[in-house]
């Protein structure tokens, strides 16, 4: 196994790519549709261009970045690029306790740098119009509803990871593609409910960027994106282990 510092670097770069291209796609969608009237208050601008197709496009941007990262860094660090995934693997004793905090620090740092570099790449409108792609509950969505949705979305992500990657009987080689597409599907459905973070680091980066670059203070919503994803991921890992456990006959 490579050193912890190299694995942290892989997590850092992977999470950076996820936020730069994924959250960046949300920013660009909002900038393209800026100034156009929205049909209702549930529509904040993503959906004006192509309905649910806007969310599919954003989801695919996330999905392709995740797939590329998994194929590039999967053998180096495991390419969790998501604290909820790291914690879920630790919870089922598949990941060492001593590596959990370093992995999460690397993921949060990578996500943060992505938000700052996206701002530097696109300019002030990335913050003023696109909000750096920060996630928050959409109009009419309550705090607990948002936690529930994030938990269910992350449940699907983690159950896919368990099925196509953690399970030793899984067909090798498909993990990156399937997990990327799973994320794209989750975002398509729950994007307009919570922003579809399903990853505490993905929300942390834009929140930190907003705070330090003079944007909105959204930290009151951060517990949604910690509790929901972690609960969903741990539950999926435990349920999958229970379902797939075999007894000798």
């Amino acid at each position: 196994m490579v050193s912890l510092s190299k694995r942290m670097l892989a997590e850092f770069i992977g999470t950076f790519l996820l936020v730069f291209f994924g959250a960046g796609a949300a920013v660009i969608t909002l900038m393209i549709s800026a100034g156009q009237p929205t049909p209702n208050e549930f529509n904040i601008g993503i959906g004006i261009l192509g309905g649910l197709g806007d969310w599919l496009a954003i989801g695919l941007a996330f999905g392709f970045a995740i797939a590329a990262s998994i194929y590039a860094f999967g053998r180096v660090s495991g390419c969790h690029i998501n604290p909820a995934v790291t914690i879920a693997l630790w919870a089922i004793k598949k990941f060492p306790s001593g590596d959990v905090i370093p992995y999460i620090i690397a993921q949060l740092a990578g996500a943060s740098l992505a938000s700052f570099l996206f701002f530097a790449s696109v300019g002030p409108d990335a913050l003023a119009i696109g909000g750096l792609g920060a996630t928050a509950p959409f109009p009419g969505i309550g705090y607990l509803q948002a936690i529930l949705v994030e938990a269910i979305g992350t449940f699907l992500l983690m159950i896919a990871i368990m099925g196509v990657a953690v399970d030793r009987k899984a067909t090798p080689g498909f993990a990156g593609l399937i997990i990327g597409l799973t994320v794209a599907g989750v975002i398509t459905t729950i994007g307009n409910i919570t922003g579809a973070s399903i990853n505490p680091a993905r929300t942390f980066g834009p929140y930190l960027g907003q705070m330090l670059l003079g944007g909105a203070n959204l930290w009151e919503f951060f517990p949604i994106y910690i509790i929901g994803p972690i609960v969903g991921a741990v539950l999926a890992a435990v349920v999958y282990n229970y379902m797939s456990a075999e007894t000798a006959t």
């Binding site: 196994m1 999967g74 053998r75 495991g78 390419c79 953690v166 993990a175």
Partner: protein, 69 residues
Amino acid sequence: MKCYICAQQGKDTDAVAICIVCGMGLCMDHAIREEVDIWEGGYPFPSEKMEKTIPRILCPPCYEGLKGD
């Protein structure tokens, strides 16, 4: 079985191994034993190189082909 390479050179040498790629019989002079690393893991776990290796016997042409020399 005789060594194929020795036979090409007009010699008659007993084979002691077979190339795993082409099936050529090989004597001790022409058999090349490679030790192949075993890696376990991969997404979502970091890969680990195992202490043990897998032996693999090759003939000189296949060895050169696989090594890209």
